[in-house]
Symmetry: C2
Subunit: 882 residues, 2 copies
């Protein structure tokens, strides 16, 4: 017994009337392609008749043990008859044959999921009828193409086996071009195909009905093919959606010189320019245009060749764009001087094109500003802001890691941070290759064009720092075998020595052998216009995570409205100060520590002076020291020896200190405000540096707004104690400078306990900044540096929808955040709340933050435009929902 | 301006009437000592008159910048007059001098917080008056004692400086005994004391009022002395409580042979026997009894010496015990044939005595069973269950660590788990000394008498495993310097070689040089009686954490009602199976892993057979594999070499595997059900072993109740996926065996996200077991293995009240637990809920679990009686509150 439902299974289209349309509900049911075919039919556009089997039937097919139900077969038959009547042809009738194309069609386009099957319905008998009606050569060419396609796509025979049989005949006949094959050659080819299939024990079905059933099964089956699953993973498409199947009457562009076929965009998809853009071939099928064997002509040439058809096509494209309010990507076929539109869909476009099209359409009165904003994919903006690999370049991709920081980079392989700095000094561009980076590597990372690591996820040290620097990074590339000692990188059989050229694509995670050509993307005037609109609509502030004056300037250019996270530890590594930091750590007394801190004070102060100046008039949130002290000490034998010498301590003493600071789980260890509690002098020095820098600038008439942020608070008393200490220091300095300085002291909410007890903490905090990196780690019990080994499998198995370090887990972590906001605001209704985790630059997470009532999000400088756009998009959908 | 309040500052007692009494509110206000003095006064017991300054005044003193307010000085003066009138003497009047004792008195007794100041009110003039009235020698002896005591306690002069001046005079006079000093000697002594003080520039105040004010300040000041803070930390007493000050008229036991002094318990505090127990000295002050210079007489001798006084004393002690319903510890003084009671308080007693007294008092009709249960400190029961160091033994304590697992152990020092096993085989008792233990050390830990570690806290691996084994452990003893290679332990100047005797006191954390005498505590019949009462009252089940049949049997004897946590990973280490486990880990294919798991299967099955048999009729919760695989691989060079050989792989291959499994934060890494997801074959093997063992025993007619527990679930889909797999396996086996088996599948709630989304998880879970160790780590963002370096400082600075790994953090972690319970029961109202973290054996945490609606707590076998008692205590107080 098969499951039977009363829901409509199949949606017919033809005769200017369709069961479906292009509504959202209908798209979900019959897929994007089917919905658009229905819509076009209803619009009176010439579309060959056909029908769409709904996505629900795909699910039923799987639930039914991969069997097409009898009910569905019956419905197919009914609809087939309607198509026959609409087209005036008959499926399987040699005298007047109706042929079909069969294609998949999911809710969203999934290119490469399944090839199309064309010419379905041909067999040994029908081919003869077609030959009579439409010419012999055409008929036999169609037949051999159909066998080839059907056997490949539906029966799984390798494509190249057919190609080699074809090549044999071409060689025998001394022919180089397929079009020169005679009818007899094609008949011979069909015979050879059949004999090959017989040898392979593959049955090619002669009955058209069987062909159709098998093709529909193949489309359903393709939904769970490896490449489709992979694509869904990469694009966050649930497996439960299923695919629809479009069965459409064939029309032929290869029926002679009055026939043709082509693809076109209603605007230029690379630049966005408002010109009809596309190409066509006469006497050809669609695959010929794509295959590139013959060079297609630009669409404009069609005006001369078939002026009436061209003007009909122009009329249609303008109608379609006006109807869908979107740039369209359409396929057409001319069969014996009659134009058919086979497909239309929203056209894919580059980021610059997306922006130009959106702005142009507003200017043309086609869409509103709000529509324009909603049409641009926030994450696509990333492309705009980084160099890219030239799309035309041929690449030798040898491994794939995580796309940890977008953009592309070319350089010579180096294996240590020191080497990176040295090579850079010699004027070389380098790629820093590390098992995983640590804060010690900062200098080398800054010197490198890009960073490649073997371990660590999307929020590993390498990834976070690289994004902050706007530098390309491929992380967690487990195929790498790095020998730091020998300075070699082995990937499969390829061995890179130090100095060998290597290219990274941080937007895709690809590692490429050799030097690829890069192109620099530029920000257009349209971008500025769009960002202007965006800023008027959004209702949340966008700040940046920036640790240096340079970062701050870049961020401000990108539209940052303050700094949401300035990590002071990065400053501890710069230049000579790391030595003073190490002296402090090694000091065995308070006095010793204070002496070392006194050396660091002026340097920190000058950092803050620079950052405050760059951000004048905007708030600057400075996080006091966060990482465990262990991170500041060297770890390899040679570095230990060097540093012991520098610091004038014995190697064994240094090693003992390193050992004593080693932690089993440093993430959960002696860091953050716990350092401030046990070594108050460190935070005191930092507070002094911040307030002194702020006071000096204030005295110069600048408007400085420091926000001191205490990290890793889990208990309100930690915050209270540190806040009191800082306040005393600050008030003394302000009195000394005799100036008016408004500063606030707040805390990160990054420990679950802090979110749970946010009411208590709010009483002591001037602001909350949700540190969603750590909060995600702790709420999930998941180390971001270690989760790479199994997190991908979790997403594959659909246990998790996303990597929670990339996309905020709204259900779990989000629940805790909402609780924290609610508790905090209960005590302090106007509590300022922001986010400074990596999620602050991710569109769906920004949407969450806005809805949770945040005052700002903070993200790395290069993601600010994305955040601005995403914020506006949320504001718009919120308004629509209200 | 000082703060002024209208609250009563001082509570007078005297003339059989007192302002205070022994209510709970009053105890909080005037301390235990003051409350009992008031109560005795009201009872008509002869108590020298006096007054108590309230604890609130201590707080005011600190708030007032460590100044006694004028209002308080006035009140002191008023009360002083009342004492004068009651005693018929006058403070500072040489003709009829009134002298005072001044003592601290907090809400709870804090021995060693502050020494008493006696004889206050003496000066160069008053001493002469006292001499006339009560004898010269007595007067001058009192005076020199007062100077000594006042200068030491109030002015901070070292005690031994006075002792050496006294010694000088004794030498000069050729006297060995203080009592042989003449009046002139004593006058000379006073003179020398004064000259010494003058040299030291210390002013000894002559005005009695000044003396009193200074002494009161000293008591207030002593509240925040280092040793008091230390004591409060160890005993969880908040610093905000403050201390009261008792100022009481002096009476003298050293006014000749009709005077005397003594201390007594109303029952024997060591055994609990119902006999009057104490000792006294004639012609002596209290300090003489304690100091041990003269040997006191047993209290019974007083019957002969002063029969009337004795019978008055007996009458009083009986009256006091009857009044307080508690064994009393009292101090008395006989001044010239008149008996005074100076103090009474509940007497400290050993655990066996506590039980005997409670049971006896019930039998005597003095208290109810409920009272008896409430009177026994649950945590004190620990003493009963472990060997103790003989209290009479002289100990050379050389270091102190955390009291990680109670009891005491003596043995020879060994430094590796293998050595422990080898020495044990040779018949030696050993103490295993490690930097920190790891699961590899299990065998050695089992072989050792006790375990001593340098690192790790109360819930470190060493501590948890030792408690489970009922084995003594001192953990986190940072004074240790261990050289595993040379097999030496250095503590300060002491160096232990392998084989040197060492003693551990796991109840105090003391490390003792050499061999201390141990005594075995035994469970008395009274213990059984008490436990019977307890079980009838408590309303929560007590289960045990047990991993072996032996542990299970021990636990059942202690009253376990099932197993709440059986950790399967410990079984992975035993005997030869670790090799199979390693084979599994090193296998690069599913087949290879399955082959290795097939070897482990029969061993796991036999473990479960043993445990199920020991726990027949009771539920057994088995947790599937939890730790990261890394823990099963060797870490030191030699072991790696050996094991590579054993497993027939290259050293480099093994090292590479170890390296690839290394994690930055293993706590948050690839462990728990994440292993079950990525290597389903491991959990499948475990499920098979559990269900097969259960089915075989069921077929034999035994009642087996397996509960399979999935660890580290953070997302319901993890649980759903694994549960489905296990159910299929289980149903197949049950069908095969053709038997009826009731098994359930539940989950640990140990990740914050699981608690937050407990509603979703409850839909898939038959039970919840809160893993509060990990839940505490993640909710606090605190690694239990690393927190040792700062957690003590947190408790010292009162940022946290307790180590949250010892005492459940009810405010933060508890909030999450309550949320989890609420969400879970909303979906499944009869959801079984338990706790299997270390907190399951801690009384205040058990109290929390009962109130949160848990069905059971689970703890290590040796803590079961404690849990049973604590559960009954909560049930009783709950009833009282209802």
């Amino acid at each position: 017994m098969t499951t039977s439902t009363t829901t409509k299974k199949i949606y017919f289209f033809g005769n200017n009337q369709a069961d479906g349309k292009a509504s959202i509900e209908m798209r979900n049911l019959i897929g994007g392609k089917g919905a658009n075919l229905a819509e076009m039919t209803n619009m009176g556009i010439p579309v060959p008749a056909g029908f769409t089997i709904s996505t629900e039937e795909c699910t039923n097919y799987y639930n039914n043990g991969k069997q097409i139900s009898n009910e569905l077969l019956n419905d197919i038959n009914d609809n087939l008859k309607k198509v026959e009547s609409s087209m005036g042809q008959k499926f399987g009738d040699p005298d007047n044959p109706l042929l079909f194309s069969v294609r998949s069609g999911a809710r969203v386009s999934m290119p490469g999921m399944m090839d199309t099957v064309l010419n379905l319905g041909l067999n040994d008998v029908v081919v003869e009828g077609l030959a009579k009606k439409s010419g012999k050569r055409f008929a036999w060419d169609s037949y051999r193409r159909f066998i080839q396609m059907f056997c490949n796509v539906v029966l799984g025979v390798e494509h190249n086996r057919f190609e080699s049989i074809l090549d044999d005949i071409k060689k025998e006949k001394n022919i180089t071009n397929d079009t020169n094959l005679t009818t007899d050659d094609l008949k011979e080819l069909v015979a050879r195909y059949k004999s090959f299939l017989k040898d392979r024990n593959v049955t090619f079905p002669q009955e058209p009905a069987k062909q159709l059933e098998k093709a529909i099964e193949a489309v359903f089956g393709s939904w769970n093919a490896d490449r489709a699953i992979k694509y869904r993973e990469l694009n966050n498409i649930p497996g439960s959606w299923g695919t629809a199947v479009n069965v459409q009457a064939m029309v032929f562009g290869n029926m002679g010189l009055t026939s043709g076929t082509g693809v076109a965009f209603t605007r230029n998809p690379s630049t966005g320019e408002n010109v009809f853009y596309g190409e066509y071939l006469m006497n050809a099928q669609g695959e010929d245009v794509v295959a590139g064997i013959r060079t297609p002509h630009p669409i404009q040439d069609l005006e001369k060749e078939m002026p009436e058809i061209y003007s009909e096509l122009v009329e249609i494209y303008l109608k379609l764009e006006k109807h869908f309010h979107e740039m369209q990507d359409l396929e057409f076929t001319i069969q014996d001087k009659k134009l058919y539109i086979l497909q239309t869909r929203n056209g894919k476009r580059t980021a610059p094109a997306a922006i130009k099209i959106a702005v142009d359409m507003v200017n043309e009165g086609l869409i509103s500003k709000e529509d324009a904003i909603l049409k641009i994919s926030a994450s696509q903006l990333d492309q705009l802001l980084h160099p890219m690999i030239d799309p035309k370049a041929e690449l030798d991709v040898i491994a794939k890691g995580l796309p940890a920081s977008p953009g592309a980079a070319v350089g010579k392989a180096v294996f240590t941070a020191d080497d990176a700095e040295e090579w850079k000094k010699k004027g070389e561009k380098v790629i820093l290759i590390r098992e995983e980076t640590s804060p010690e590597d900062i200098g080398g990372m800054a010197a490198a064009e890009g960073i490649l690591t073997e371990r660590g996820g999307m929020t590993s040290h390498a990834a976070v720092v690289a994004r902050g620097m706007g530098k390309c990074c491929v992380a967690g590339c487990s195929a790498l075998k790095i020998n730091e000692h020998k300075k070699t990188l082995t990937i499969g059989d390829t061995v890179f020595q130090e100095g060998d050229d290597i290219t990274l694509n941080g937007s895709t995670g690809e590692v490429i052998k050799g030097k690829a050509d890069l192109i620099q993307a530029e920000l257009s005037g349209d971008f500025e216009i769009l960002m202007d609109w965006v800023d008027k609509i959004r209702n949340i502030k966008i700040r940046t995570n920036a640790d240096t004056p340079l970062d701050s300037e870049v961020a401000r250019k990108f539209g940052a409205e303050g700094i949401g996270l300035c990590r002071t530890e990065h400053m501890f590594f710069e230049g000579d100060r790391i030595q003073a930091v190490r002296e402090m750590i090694l000091a065995n007394s308070l006095d010793g520590r204070k002496k070392a801190l006194a050396k660091i004070l002026p340097m920190q102060k000058s950092d803050f002076t620079g950052i405050f100046t760059a951000m004048e008039g905007l708030p600057v949130t400075i996080r006091l020291l966060d990482p465990p002290l262990h991170e500041f000490l060297p770890h390899d034998e040679n570095a230990i020896k060097d540093i012991a010498k520098e610091l004038n301590v014995s190697v064994s003493e240094l090693k003992q200190k390193i050992e004593s600071l080693k932690e089993f789980n440093p993430m959960l260890g002696h860091r953050g405000c716990r350092l401030g509690i046990t070594y108050p002098e460190i935070y005191e020095m930092q507070a002094q540096a911040i307030i002194e820098a702020a006071c000096e600038l204030t005295k110069q008439g600048k408007n400085i707004l420091p926000e001191i942020m205490i990290p890793l608070v889990g208990e309100v008393k930690e915050l209270g104690l540190l806040k009191d200490k800082i306040n005393i220091i600050a008030q003394n300095i302000i009195k000394e400078y005799d100036c008016q300085l408004n500063f606030v002291i707040g805390t990160m909410i990054e420990i679950p306990r802090a979110a749970l007890l946010a009411d208590e903490i709010a009483a002591q905090a001037d602001f909350f900044s949700f540190g969603t990196n750590d909060l995600t780690q702790m709420t999930f019990g998941l180390s971001r540096d270690d989760s790479g080994s199994f997190l991908q499998e979790y997403v594959q198995k659909e246990i998790l929808d996303n990597d929670p370090f990339q996309v905020l887990d709204q259900k779990g972590v989000g629940k805790l955040i909402k609780l924290g906001v609610e508790q905090g605001r209960k005590v302090k209704p106007d509590l300022k709340i922001g986010i400074c985790g990596e999620h602050g630059g991710e569109p769906s997470s920004i949407d969450f933050c806005i809805k949770a009532g945040f005052n700002y999000v903070s993200c790395s400088p290069y993601r600010i435009p994305i955040a601005r756009l995403a914020a506006a998009q949320t504001a718009l959908t919120q308004n629509n929902n209200n």
